[in-house]
Symmetry: C2
Subunit: 235 residues, 2 copies
């Protein structure tokens, strides 16, 4: 049983427990016990409890971005904000950790949100810039309208995401709209608000042209995320 395997097992157990119990209630002792390692071993790999859970969260985000990349490579129109958010929304529905992240679930994440904001300022800022450049590229290729300032489009996009993501939790009790349908409504809304409609053919062609640049952006960001994950571990 080598270093790499240990590390992976600890991460996995930490992720499971984070969801099942929530940050505060999970102890390093319990993680070590379930991963069948000594408590000290956890600290051989991560400086602090926060660093460990930050790694968990970053990995989930990384995986989400990877799926996003797969979709974009397979089907260029997936670079459109509407399509992208639909994918992210589905991931969001399927991945409880993502759900906790995007809805700021204090019970699950505990103080992790604050730590993340402090620790990942740079990465968050980079994500911000990347999204703006993403929109910029799409505008250049006529896929996104230019009737609004890019910053304002980004603001609108973030607000819509926030609304559909958190509204998810606010729908509590009766759920009159199926998840699939909600995803489509989100896509429809984002499309109407930001994108152009030059017909399916033209869209596909423009998307194919823009795709490499957008994909490069996300690959670059994924790399940064990976780097950040590695930065959380010792040595």
């Amino acid at each position: 049983m080598d270093r790499v395997e240990r590390r992976a097992r600890i991460l996995e157990v930490a992720g499971e427990l984070l969801l099942a119990w929530g940050y505060d209630r999970v102890t390093i002792d319990e993680i070590a016990r379930r991963a069948k390692v000594g408590k000290g071993t956890v600290y051989l790999h991560w400086k602090t409890k926060d660093a460990l859970f930050l790694a968990v969260v970053l990995q989930v985000q990384f995986q989400s971005h990877q799926r996003q990349l797969v979709r974009m490579r397979a089907d260029p129109p997936e670079i459109l904000p509407s399509r992208m958010l639909r994918g992210l929304f589905c991931d969001f529905l399927g991945q409880p950790v993502l759900r906790a992240m995007y809805t700021d679930d204090a019970d699950v994440l505990g103080r992790l949100n604050d730590t993340a904001k402090r620790e990942l300022t740079e990465l968050i800022g980079e994500g911000d810039r990347m999204l703006r450049r993403h929109l910029g590229v799409l505008r250049e290729h006529g896929l996104v309208r230019d009737d609004l300032d890019v910053h304002h489009q980004q603001y609108a996009l973030m607000a819509m995401a926030t609304g559909f993501f958190t509204g998810e939790a606010l729908l509590d009790g009766r759920a009159p709209v199926a998840p699939e349908v909600r995803a489509d409504i989100l896509a429809h809304t984002v499309h109407s608000a930001l994108e152009t409609s030059p017909g399916e053919e033209a869209t596909a062609r423009a998307a194919a042209r823009a795709a490499p640049e957008v994909i490069a952006l996300y690959e670059q960001f994924s790399e940064l995320t990976l780097h950040e994950i590695r930065r959380q571990v010792r040595d």
Copy 2:
């Protein structure tokens, strides 16, 4: 100093303290002291602390709807969802109690949210139905698109509102976009997502035709709210 004046002063003081201190920290004693009445007097007017603060919240909502009605009567296009939400958003920014309500601010509202949900189920359901009928009327007059089910449009509308309203708080720290501009972006987004664009002239004419029906809806709802406020006081 008559009954009515007393009641108004208590409500006013309660509203001020709710904002300044938050539900939990406000005591009936303090309200009575500031309103210069005996503690028992407060209970002559409202059955419970919850009823009193529910009245505060309902009144703020009522006033917001009244302003909405004034706008709609003065300028029919204000019945459009985009215009309506812009108005509501500005009210939201200017009225801290509204802000607390829409963002579910637990620190200010305390247990009031839960009480409200339990106590005002009917009113909330009525608001829900009213919004749907509002959208229905606009669709009949060609002001709102029919490329989506009404329920789904309502869902989208709620999600957008949620996003822009709560995102407000999530913008913490730097605020790169001015309030006025945010309101316009919200209006622009809602317009793009739901409404038709038959030109300003045609819109104005259709709006003028639809306005009476929509205004009647909101008058009816205001009446219900008022009724609910009265239901909170004794006798």
